[in-house]
Subunit: 392 residues, 2 copies
């Protein structure tokens, strides 16, 4: 059900011909109101793609009537022409929606259309294919179009990702592609969330930032940050219910968490999903820093791939951080076995069962009471293969 | 010639049985004077192996008569017993050298013996094999023993690494194993440099820190920092020549640079040696930060492996740093072709010839006049294989 699970939204996903293989590559999500409240979170990469620069500006008004998303090209590092192309895409979406009579008030304007792109960096989009595709996408808009939209934004994703939480009279739903936020896997993470809750953009922004901070921001597939990452949340108000803030925030968090887990499970070449849980840290920031350092350690990621509970590599990763800890007080468990105690050899490493896809690493800093969990995956020959052949 | 190229040094390398496959695993380097000046640089990892903790203390006196090095075990994360083992090793070396009459003054003391270890973390060394091995190593000390010492410290190295620079009446020579310093490849970088120049420990320390800062510290094979990295410089004064500081510093830098290049060329699984040159940075720190970020980008390292001049991944890596730059002013050349100009598409990427092992990336920040070069290698399926099977 994806982005059309909530009332007030239509969506579509079509093949515009941006991808040479003819797969779906253009998605459209339209908020039919009555509200058009919206919030967004973007990549913290300083090299931002044209659609990110555009959508950041558009969102300053706190309202969106539509989001258009394309796979098959990131439109990043494409200079002034790339930005013009993003602008032209938003204009085309507004014009096509107004022509099709999708808003009785004729109220679609380019300044209320967010644009998201994903694919290879440094290549201009084929606008001769993309712009006609917009008309086709508008023509196919449907309250059942959420799945097709989710399929059209895939790049190297093997599965499309959707999630829905329904509460008392209102719903939060969404779709995602890619793997990661601060540090996505290959190419970009794009997420569009919709809700029919009756909330303004400030309320959406607060809930979205809180949710991404502990979900997408803690998914770290390969430590590489994209130029295009975008997470949008749109509210139609169609349910006429204004939920309690905490309850709404939890629903958004739950959808983000579910989508984040789906991203990790579908990360490129991964054979293991690794949960890195840092406990007893002095601060949450310390816990996140240590978790990320462990999650990014190539040597450890290779060891996990080889089903080797190599806790020494966990300790060397912890040792590179500025977190508060004493080396002699560190403890590490892998799949429930405390293989490192007090900075040295703990329980027998042969007790660690690593046959399954899920791997759980606990790093006990013995320095406080804060905790954080980072999700990552192993490093495999398939990852190397997929990423050495991506643009060729 | 390695560590015995300079006058005043003897060395040996033997198989003590630490490695189960019977390969050489114990090296000894002895400074026969008349001077015993020494300096050292160690890992900045906060989780330090027992031999690092020991050698740091020993070096505070500014003198070393001997260095004992073992492969086959890192003696890291081994607790109080690990430290006792390091201490016992130094005691055994001093005792064995005195018994053998290697110093007419009987002056070998454990507090002047540095210890280096490399291999798997979290495993105690087999002292029943190591200690008898010390006697054997002492018995085989020779002014021609430098090569054998270099061979005995190998772990996954396919080649042993040595380098020598001879100037007017004095020499700097050395040996190395591993790949990296601040961010070594698998396991540890160990380096022992010797000189017969007549210099005190302060002069050695100054030259060594200056040299490592721009050589080993800028070799970044896989971004993973070891618990055991050690670079030692010993001076015998046997040439009776006190060189000019600048000339001596340059000789030390040249030997470090040569050994650093050898480390990168022999990095695990590498098929490409990548020189990342950052130019026109506002500060040298900016240049190093950007160079390291590019060198650590797994996506780029995979692309280079696939001979794909994927400059978009260079830009996304630059974008994650705090260096001064404007995205629209960035330029990137790969093997001499400016594939990215002003943050966008530059020359035709098909012009980039990537058939050869050497790959040269230039990132122009257009923000100043400082520069730095980081050396790294590509990410390959062989790296994954080697590191997923290392401890099993």
């Amino acid at each position: 059900m994806s982005v059309t699970a909530a009332q007030g939204f239509t969506a579509s996903g079509i093949a515009a011909g941006i991808k040479e293989n003819g797969n779906p590559d253009l998605a459209l999500v339209v908020n039919n109101g009555p509200r058009r409240a919206a919030a967004g979170v973007f990549t913290s990469n300083r090299v931002k793609a044209a659609p990110v620069l555009w959508s950041e500006q558009v969102l300053k008004g706190g309202e969106l009537t539509a989001v258009v998303l394309n796979s098959g090209g990131a439109n990043a590092c494409t200079g002034p022409k790339g930005f013009q192309d993003t602008h032209a895409t938003a204009e085309k979406v507004a014009e096509s929606l107004n022509t099709a009579g999708h808003d009785e008030t004729g109220g679609h304007a380019p300044g209320m259309v967010a644009v998201c792109s994903t694919g290879l960096i440094g290549v201009l989009l084929p606008m001769d294919k993309l712009l006609p595709g917009v008309d086709k996408a508008v023509a196919q808009l449907s309250t059942h179009g959420g799945e097709k939209a989710a399929i059209a934004i895939k790049t190297t994703d093997t599965l499309h990702k959707t999630s829905v939480v329904t509460k008392d009279g209102w719903t939060v739903g969404g779709m995602a592609k890619g793997a990661g936020m601060l540090a996505p896997g290959l190419a970009t993470m794009l997420v569009v969330l919709t809700t029919d809750a009756d909330l303004d953009s400030d309320a959406l922004d607060k809930a979205l930032r809180a949710a991404t901070r502990t979900t997408f921001d803690r998914v770290d597939s390969d430590g590489c940050m994209s130029t295009n990452d975008t997470v949008l949340l749109l509210a139609s108000g169609a349910s006429e219910v204004t939920p309690d803030h905490a309850e709404f925030a939890e629903a958004v968090r739950a959808v983000c968490d579910d989508l984040g887990q789906q991203l990790i499970r579908d990360a490129e070449g991964a054979s293991k999903d690794i949960k890195v849980e840092v406990i007893n840290a002095a601060t949450e920031d310390d816990a996140v820093e240590v978790g990320r350092s462990i999650a990014r350690n190539n040597l450890l990621k290779c060891a996990i791939h080889g089903e080797d509970p190599n806790w020494g590599r966990v300790l060397s990763a912890i040792g590179t951080t500025s977190a508060a800890f004493e080396p002699d007080w560190l403890n590490v468990a892998i799949n429930g076995v405390w293989v490192c105690k007090n900075g040295g050899v703990g329980e027998d490493r042969d007790k660690v069962d690593m046959r399954y896809r899920e791997v759980h690493i606990v790093a006990d800093l013995a320095a406080g009471s804060e905790t954080a969990t980072i999700w990552t995956n192993d490093l495999t020959a398939d990852y190397v293969h997929e990423n050495s052949a991506y643009s060729s």
